[in-house]
Symmetry: C2
Subunit: 260 residues, 2 copies
Amino acid sequence: MAGNSRDSGRSVTGRALSVLTAFDVDHTRLTLTAIARRAAIPLATAHRLVGELEAWGALHRDDDGRYAIGLRLWEIGLLAPAHTALREAALPFMQELCENTRENVHLAVRDHWDAVYVEKLTVPRSVPIVSRTGGRLPLHPTGVGRVLLAHAPAQVVQEYCERGLSRHTPYTITEPGRLARELQAVRSRGFARTSEEMTLGNCSVAVPVRDGTGTVVAALGLVARSVRAEHSKLVKPLLPAAEAIRRRLAEHDLARSDAG
Amino acid sequence: MAGNSRDSGRSVTGRALSVLTAFDVDHTRLTLTAIARRAAIPLATAHRLVGELEAWGALHRDDDGRYAIGLRLWEIGLLAPAHTALREAALPFMQELCENTRENVHLAVRDHWDAVYVEKLTVPRSVPIVSRTGGRLPLHPTGVGRVLLAHAPAQVVQEYCERGLSRHTPYTITEPGRLARELQAVRSRGFARTSEEMTLGNCSVAVPVRDGTGTVVAALGLVARSVRAEHSKLVKPLLPAAEAIRRRLAEHDLARSDAG
């Protein structure tokens, strides 16, 4: 799925979708002019498309005339299986993890070259981190990303390395051979660990989450401050939580095949 | 915003959006034929639109050929202010409430005639309830809905009553005069309470969540089993949580006006 075909804007549908793409986490409220500019479409076209999207509920117009993503699009987005099946199965166990560890708890899936954070729980006193629900981070320097990469097809790992391993701190693994050995270690020991590879002062551990068929569908991880954390202690509550989520997903699959 | 204008399907954008509307919580995975039927568009049109939506990432095609809402639409939906501002501000306090009460915790906003559940937290041992994140329930028989209705413009309350108050249990308030008195009580006592009005055996309490300007933007509530719950005890932790969320929202508004 190439980026250019996504945003080509050739068809009317493509142009309507490009209006939505004008929004991102740093641009959640936009004027009509800003939408037209960011979507690279004429103002008159933007005006018509925004009108249609607003009438449907995909966009919402603020009192000050700026537009934001609408509640109806939010509702439909929540029907994605990553949310309805995976996140719903995992959330109660993530809450327990957060409650017992007082650390940041992450659930992520792989989408192409990114770890996409399906859910992030945090407590007021936990360490500040860069992730957010619905956000993306690279695969190689994050705990959850490294689990997802370790269980991706070899072809994906090779292509990921060929694109270049970005450096985020002096400790980020950026050498493909070293990363390959680390991914092998993730598979053999059953969990990933990182130390200050994404953010200085933070470390993470993560374990695979499997579905009823044993396929790795997500990663569950904790991020803590390096000085107070021991990897082995952090990983202990993760393993039973991942197993509990797997059982839930298996029940869900069973219910789905019964219904279908 | 009339329902018929939303789904008229006259324009290409309208037809593309109607493809998305084919999905709901009971229909999260659909074949192409089912999409065409549910969106009321010809199969050839559905085929072309689904192809464009899939290429963009709004839809995802399963191994078995069925379609689901895609991760990219989910990500864009999460940019809705109800999620980015309100839910992010509230989540840590909702987790604390859930942890301390071991009951279901709800955050909801009003959209037209419904309470829309922005977030729902639950613990494995809490009472089973009908709400879900991204779901809708009526305003009059739910705790959060009653708070939202109590703080809605008088015109909204009148129209809501004129549409008829649906009965969900023998205890649902369905008489407009009685509801009006109850809404007045919600405003004067500062919280709403319901007893078995949505689901037999369950009761709820809810309080308003205000933004930095004092406007009620959401409702925060707890649902518990009637037999073990006391309204006054349930409401106690809700008030400081709502106040903490208000402070966070005020800080967020301040940051936003600084940035803009």
